[in-house]
Symmetry: C2
Subunit: 197 residues, 2 copies
């Protein structure tokens, strides 16, 4: 049911997805939806929570046991797979934009999801710094903000123009330059000088 | 009038902006709007063209006479100023998302705008390569895709969460890593070896 709801919201927007339409698509009665959810806003909130939980589990599972640099590369792949899958990929992003001025509850949920994603990335960078995999003079929060921008912006361009925008190129180039900046230049020159050994 | 229309579409979405509402806000009669525009879709298309032209002029003017690396830094500032201005910044981005499945004409306009922006950036990178400011083994199209992602993703996070997302940090970090990757490493080592002198 929540998957069908996500499908409807994703395809017709919030305004275009009546409880009636969702019930019909899901092959259930309107009554059974109202049994579980107070109203359409309540159903939307549950749908969002369900999709967020799925995405967060996927991200976390994907970098279990990986070194920080491999994890940063892996997460970009997970986001890309997610964007290119048939699994309502646009749903959360469309909603993130649409809900900014219109739906406080959903807007709050998505804001806290994005904060969590950035916090998770900053934690990865910090871990990489503690393990001396990444140079120490980089601000983990700045990396997390730029990383999230790169992923989000690539997803949107891909949804908008799958024929001319290559998500793999955009994310690949971003991750390559990021990893060079995190562990390349300064670390190498320090190592040559023997300063961090 | 087009500015008021942009303001309405930006605030209430396409569905929530009746010709009636726009006419009232602009202080004109419905008749005078219908004199110039066939219907609401036609008015929206004109509004989009007007905003796009304004943004493109700003970007192009901003990097007149600048070297390619300075131009890449400057454009990020222009995008940031644009996003943080009171000048209907969300309008084009909200619409880009909303129109994907719903409005072919506007969707086509915005798709071609994004293609133009990426082409402009790729041209800058190519110019930097010809002037031996940037290393030659970087694909200008990949840079353009990643750059556009970084800007777009930063704008959206800023609209969603201005209190916790620092656009300046996100774009600053991205541009710094990009410029290092474009002209830093390889060029330096070539120069040390005297190969490109």
């Amino acid at each position: 049911m929540l998957a069908t709801a996500a499908d409807c919201f994703s395809r017709y927007g919030y305004a275009g997805s009546s409880i009636d339409r969702i019930a019909r698509k899901a092959g259930v009665t309107k009554g059974s939806i109202y049994y579980h959810f107070r109203d359409k806003e309540d159903l939307l909130a549950a749908t969002v929570l369900d999709r967020i939980a799925e995405f967060e589990q996927r991200v976390q599972a994907s970098c279990d046991g990986l070194a920080a640099d491999e994890a940063l590369r892996r997460i970009a792949h997970v986001c890309q797979d997610h964007a290119m899958s048939k699994d309502h990929p646009r749903f959360l992003i469309m909603l993130m934009i649409e809900s900014i001025d219109t739906n406080q509850q959903v807007s709050d949920q998505l804001r806290s999801t994005m904060r969590g994603f950035r916090r998770f990335l900053a934690g990865l960078v910090r871990r990489g710094q503690q393990q001396e995999l990444f140079r120490a003079d980089v601000d983990p929060e700045r990396v997390a903000s730029a990383y999230t921008s790169a992923v989000l912006g690539a997803e949107i361009q891909y949804y908008q123009d799958p024929d001319s925008f290559c998500m793999d190129d955009a994310l690949g180039h971003y991750i390559d330059t990021l990893l060079v900046s995190l562990n390349g230049v300064r670390t190498d020159s320090l190592q040559e000088n023997g300063e961090n050994r």
